[in-house]
């Protein structure tokens, strides 16, 4: 699938900022980081499940952007390019470091659901950051129990609503494989979330 054309206003704004940055305007880089840092950090956090790891990973993405933006041909949206870099960075961390997963461990609540990952970590409390109800927490835990490849599909498709084309562009996985992976993963999610969605 070809890249996403730079048609909308956001893409045009990105292109201007990239041009400005390539001419040495550091402020343009700052603007781009401010624009996409939450998006990239959020992806990394959902994928890695660790706040500090996600912070490091997101910074790595923007460092790569700082040094390697010349290789960006503007054939796709900048956000897609950043997503691809972020996904690769997350995969590298997962495979190389056997990433620790720091979750809010509430074993008492999870005791009735053997499918949920109740591995906990006391160093950080994500619930205080973004979770405001138990359903959200259980969904997130269910997602985190999935293998990384399946987790990524759920994040990109069901959480963020990316199209199959974008997912293929981001992950490099063909659309058919994406669809079959998603179908299989949703069945798992259906079982994991039977308490929430009876």
């Amino acid at each position: 699938m070809s890249g996403i054309p730079l048609q909308n206003q956001a893409a045009e704004e990105d292109r201007k900022l990239l041009d400005s940055f390539s001419r040495g305007n550091e402020k343009a880089f700052d603007d781009l980081v401010k624009k996409y840092r939450d998006l990239i950090f959020n992806l990394c956090y959902r994928y890695l499940g660790d706040y500090d790891e996600a912070d490091e990973c997101a910074q790595e993405v923007f460092i790569k952007m700082y040094h390697g933006i010349a290789g960006f041909r503007m054939e796709s949206a900048l956000s897609t390019w950043l997503y691809r870099v972020a996904v690769n960075a997350c995969k590298n961390r997962i495979s190389a470091k056997k990433t620790r997963r720091k979750y809010v461990a509430e074993p008492a609540r999870d005791s009735g659901n053997p499918g949920l990952d109740t591995r906990g970590d006391s160093s950080f409390d994500p619930a205080g950051v973004f979770e405001n109800n138990e359903r959200q927490m259980l969904i997130r835990k269910a997602i985190e129990t999935l293998p990384p490849a399946e987790r990524l599909m759920i994040i990109l498709k069901d959480m963020e609503g990316r199209t199959y084309g974008e997912i293929e562009e981001i992950t490099g996985i063909k659309e058919g494989t994406v669809k079959s992976t998603l179908a299989r993963t949703r069945k798992k999610m259906r079982i994991l979330l039977k308490d929430i969605f009876p």
């Binding site: 840092r37 939450d38 959020n42 910074q59 460092i63 405001n132 959200q136 069901d158 179908a183």
Partner: protein, 337 residues
């Protein structure tokens, strides 16, 4: 279309990503299948719940940490950052700069050091010019013709100086020989190799002055002629009356030092000389030295007046017709009395 196939398409059906043919087939199936309709409700709730997950914001110090890793300055603080940051390297540079300035100030400029007047060769030449009579017009013409085109800082060498002096007739002895100014300041002070080339004699005098020496008394008004340091008649009267010249209230060391200076200045100027170097013992000691230049004609009067200030010790005074200037170093020592 069977239930399994329909349920596979349900998420895409909800997101509107099914093509027309599949869309109609799914809709038709859902109208007649309660199980698939229930599954559809699940996916609808599931999707809504997942999409409702609040995004997590990046840490507040994300930019700062990123800038640190990139070792770059945030662009919005351009001026302040330019001057003071990044602190790690700028502090080192600024400290090195301060140290360099301090080094220059203390070891080269030395603003705290007492500066002595420097005896420059230009001064010497100027003094000599003042003493020497002007050459005749013809000499000027010759000199002008032979003068080097370039400007030298020290010397103005006249044409054929040796010939002029050696060939000078006896009748012209009274007129001053043309000065042979060396290109080197040292040569101007060097002992003469030939008697006829000597124009400046160097000598050292030691003046011993005890506590009651007139040197430490206030300077009296000089006569208008300026030939003598003090009026001899008045001095004689004072001496005959038995009153020492300087019997006044005790003065402190500082005052005595400046009285010495006043006496010497008065004496030298009175004899048409100039003080080219002065070294006052500011550390509280009692040894001062003066280097003065005197025209040869003023030497006798100067020495006579100097002897009034205290006993003088010196080597033989150089004499000669060709001596035009005396450069005398006078070392003033406190007597033992």
């Amino acid at each position: 279309m069977k239930c399994a196939e329909v349920q596979k398409y349900l998420p895409d059906y909800l997101s509107g990503e099914l093509d027309e043919k599949k869309l109609k087939a799914v809709e038709k199936h859902l109208q007649s299948c309660a199980e698939c309709a229930e599954e559809l409700n699940f996916y609808r709730a599931y999707t809504q719940e997942l999409r409702a997950a609040r995004p997590v914001k990046a840490p507040a110090d994300f930019m700062e940490k990123l800038n640190r890793k990139l070792e770059r300055r945030p662009s919005r603080k351009s001026l302040i950052e330019l001057l003071f940051l990044p602190l790690r390297s700028k502090l080192t540079l600024e400290a090195a700069g301060v140290l360099a300035v301090a080094f220059v100030v203390f070891f080269f400029w030395k603003p705290y050091e007492h500066k002595e007047p420097v005896y420059m060769p230009e001064n010497e030449i100027q003094a000599m010019k003042d003493v020497q009579p002007q050459p005749a017009e013809e000499e000027k013409a010759v000199n002008k013709k032979a003068a080097p085109s370039r400007t030298r800082r020290v010397a103005v060498k006249r044409a054929r100086p040796a010939d002029r002096i050696t060939a000078a007739p006896e009748s012209k002895k009274e007129s001053a020989p043309a000065p042979v100014l060396s290109e080197s300041a040292d040569l101007a002070y060097a002992p003469a190799k030939s008697k006829k080339t000597v124009f400046k004699a160097i000598m050292t005098l030691y003046l011993e002055a005890d506590r009651d020496s007139p040197l430490f008394q206030p300077v009296q008004e000089r006569s208008a002629s300026g030939a003598s340091a003090r009026d001899e008649k008045q001095l004689a009267e004072q001496e005959s009356a038995g009153s020492p010249v300087s019997k006044s209230a005790p003065v402190n060391r500082e005052e005595r030092r400046w009285r010495v200076d006043e006496h010497m200045a008065s004496l030298v100027i009175g004899h048409h000389g100039t003080i080219v170097r002065r070294k006052l013992d500011l550390s509280g000691g009692s040894v001062h030295s003066y280097t003065v230049e005197l025209p040869a004609g003023s030497l006798d009067g100067f020495l006579k007046d100097l002897k009034r200030l205290g006993p003088i010790k010196s080597a033989a005074v150089p004499k000669g017709d060709s001596i035009r200037t005396y450069v005398i170093t006078i070392i003033i020592q406190r007597g033992k009395s």
